[in-house]
């Protein structure tokens, strides 16, 4: 119970962004982004100008960028190439100044580049490269039988794959869309042969892959830096100065080394960041570690239960009256039922993303999305529960003079409670499963393990989230079933 309150308290803290001396550091889901975000978080904490809220591993570029613009986070690590292509949707020019001007027009600012260039690269298994004598991207022309697995970001953006193919003058016939974390596993197990990777990726060595040389200089620069809103330097001048000092402090090799420590040696990211920042002699290393490893099962369970219970309660409070309304007034009722059905067909992750500009990230939008998803089974349950009551009971109620209100509360609802309860059961099980997606927008819960596990390519970590979620769904279902007393 205590952890539930603690979680509530944390949730409140997250949303009181009006407090001035507090910055929220975000990052995408990849290890590199998390390390950079942790480095900057520790720098800020050491300076003591502000307190730091960590929102590391939030999602893709779209989610993190929107969160920055909507003031739900204050900074996050980004790459110049991504800013050009995904955010500005323009062709990059060589001058760095031009990018700063473009960002300034959007009310944004970018820190000095950190030093490494994490550009796109194409990689394949070392032994394939030897066997086929394949070392440069232009060599692909004569190796078109390779099966490629590319990330959606690389695949779909017109300036990535299709431009590359045009630039080099070939077309890969066998291409699949794959999550970045899964692609390494797939290429290592020879399920695919060619993947897109980042040049500082710690996994390239681990999986024995070879990066093809970009011999015709197609890939643009992906210089890493921290993206902030334009007012950040004025609000937090000390922190900003310290960030600017990081200029050139991380070479590609150094970054790949940090990535490998996280992904291969499984060293906690706070430790890696702390080791990197050795000069800031911090005595309380343990507290950093313990803060990051707050994924204690009890706390995660409490967070997950909080999401489920609050969204379910809201869905029941709204859904059952909606079901009753649909039954009493069939014409608007049909519209309500159809609307609830439409909501159910929106992919859950998409629904979460749509809400970022309006409600931001974290617990509240997760609750709203879960509430919307839980609605349909409850509304339908209440509606069909009432519909299934033998019409003669309605007649008898009317004949013995019961008021419509009395008929509803004394007769129809108690008689239809089987289907109503059933709707709640179904909804609860869906809710527990969908709640794992909340972690993608920083909502917490079991999904935190799954998102982290996906990003770190750690299957046992994924199972840490998936198995408790499945057990919770079964337990909740069993409890709800047992509580129900069926009509005779």
């Amino acid at each position: 119970m205590i952890s539930v309150f603690r979680f509530l308290y944390c949730g409140l803290l997250l949303f009181s962004w009006s407090a001035e001396a507090q910055i929220t550091v975000g990052s995408k889901m990849d290890t590199e982004g998390r390390i950079l975000a942790e480095i900057v978080s520790q720098i800020a904490e050491t300076l003591g100008e502000t307190t730091v809220i960590r929102k590391h591993g939030m999602g893709g570029t779209g989610i993190v960028y929107e969160s920055l613009k909507s003031r739900f986070i204050d900074l996050y690590p980004e790459y110049t190439g991504t800013l050009w292509k995904t955010v500005l949707k323009k062709t990059p020019t060589a001058q760095e100044k031009s990018l700063h001007d473009e960002l300034a027009a959007l009310g944004l600012n970018l820190s000095e580049p950190l030093g490494f260039n994490n550009t796109y690269a194409l990689a394949l298994r070392q032994e394939d490269a030897q066997k086929r004598n394949l070392h440069r991207i232009s060599d692909l022309k004569s190796n078109l039988d390779l099966r490629a697995g590319f990330t959606p970001e690389f695949l779909k953006h017109p300036e990535n794959l299709s431009a590359l193919e045009k630039h080099y003058g070939f077309k890969l016939p066998h291409i699949r869309s794959l999550d970045h974390g899964l692609a390494y596993e797939a290429v290592a197990h020879s399920q695919i042969d060619l993947i897109d990777a980042y040049s500082t990726d710690g996994k390239i060595k681990r999986f024995g892959l070879k990066v093809l040389e970009d011999d015709q200089h197609f890939f643009p620069d992906y210089q890493a830096a921290f993206l902030v809103r334009a007012d950040f330097p004025d609000l937090y001048p000390k922190t900003w100065k310290a960030i600017q000092k990081l200029r050139g402090s991380l070479s590609s090799d150094a970054m790949a080394g940090l990535n490998a420590r996280a992904e291969i040696d499984r060293i906690p990211i706070p430790t890696i960041a702390h080791d990197f920042l050795q000069k800031s002699t911090s005595e309380n290393q343990l507290s950093f570690v313990s803060r990051y490893i707050n994924l204690e099962l009890a706390e995660t369970t409490a967070a997950h239960l909080f999401l489920v219970l609050v969204s379910m309660t809201a869905a029941i409070v709204v859904g059952i009256p909606l079901g009753i309304f649909s039954y009493l007034l069939p014409k608007p009722g049909k519209v309500i039922l159809a609307l609830c059905g439409v909501i159910q067909t929106v992919p859950s992750l998409a629904l979460l993303c749509f809400m970022i500009p309006w409600i931001g990230i974290g617990v509240l939008p997760s609750l709203v999305a879960l509430f919307l998803y839980s609605l349909l089974p409850i509304v339908r349950g209440a509606y069909s529960g009432l519909m299934e009551v033998n019409p003669r009971y309605r007649e008898v109620s009317q004949a013995i003079g019961l008021h419509p209100r009395q008929t509803l509360f004394w007769i129809l609802l108690p008689l239809g409670r089987g289907a109503i309860w059933n709707g709640i059961c179904v909804s609860a099980v869906i809710n527990v499963g969908t709640a794992t997606l909340a972690a993608f927008i920083g909502g917490g819960g079991y999904g935190t393990y799954i998102v982290t596990g996906l990003a770190l390519n750690d299957i046992s970590m994924i199972l840490n989230g998936a198995i408790p979620a499945a057990i919770l769904a079964l337990v909740l279902h069993a409890i709800l079933r047992r509580t129900m007393v069926y009509p005779a």
């Binding site: 013995i400 108690p414 008689l415």
Partner: protein
Amino acid sequence: MIRVHELKYQSNSKWSLDIPSLHWSTSQTHAIIGLSGSGKTTLLKILQGLLIPTHGTVSLGNLKSRGYVIQEGGLFPHLTLKENLLLPFRSANPRFAKSWSFRYKEEDLSVAVKDRINYLLDLVSLPPDVLRRFPHEISGGQRQRIGVARALALDPELILMDEPLAALDPLTKWELKKDLRDIFDKLKKTVFMVTHDMNVALYFGHTLTVLHEGRVVQSGNFEEVVSHPVNDLVQRLLESGGSVQK
């Protein structure tokens, strides 16, 4: 006097109920008989006020309150017999009318209501301890008796019954039939009884109204109909009732 005038009701079936003019006198039991789907239940529901006629008028004269009994009593399965029996009282009492729950507290029941319930149980020949039970825990005949008691709860002036004796075994049926007629004779109520069983119709009815496909084939005093059936259908229905004895 109960009158219907130019009564029309369009139901979902191929015919519609169409009664130009008909009347029945008070303090008597009127049997409405016909084959399945002849419109007899529709007529009863119109008299009860459950259905609004598409055309025409229904006049109940000076009869105000109505009680309604259907097959198997129409008891609510989730309520105890006592809760079932209390519904008309609770609905009529403004103190409970707004309650969210059908549950009641024993101390909230007035002495008058308690006395009335005891009287009703005595009338339908049921022991008081039966009230704790749920409808599925008692026999079909007992359910029907509680149904009758509930219909009589607020002492209505008009009682409408739809197949009250259907789905009962012969012995139970015979006992209930006897008891019901005693009750009606004692209370001198105006009763309409819909049935497809001429035996029952002849046993209860002071008058007989024969319906077929929404039209009145014959309506009149028991003796009149028995001695002068207007057509072959009425004749055959009468024969199905066996030896005509009152």
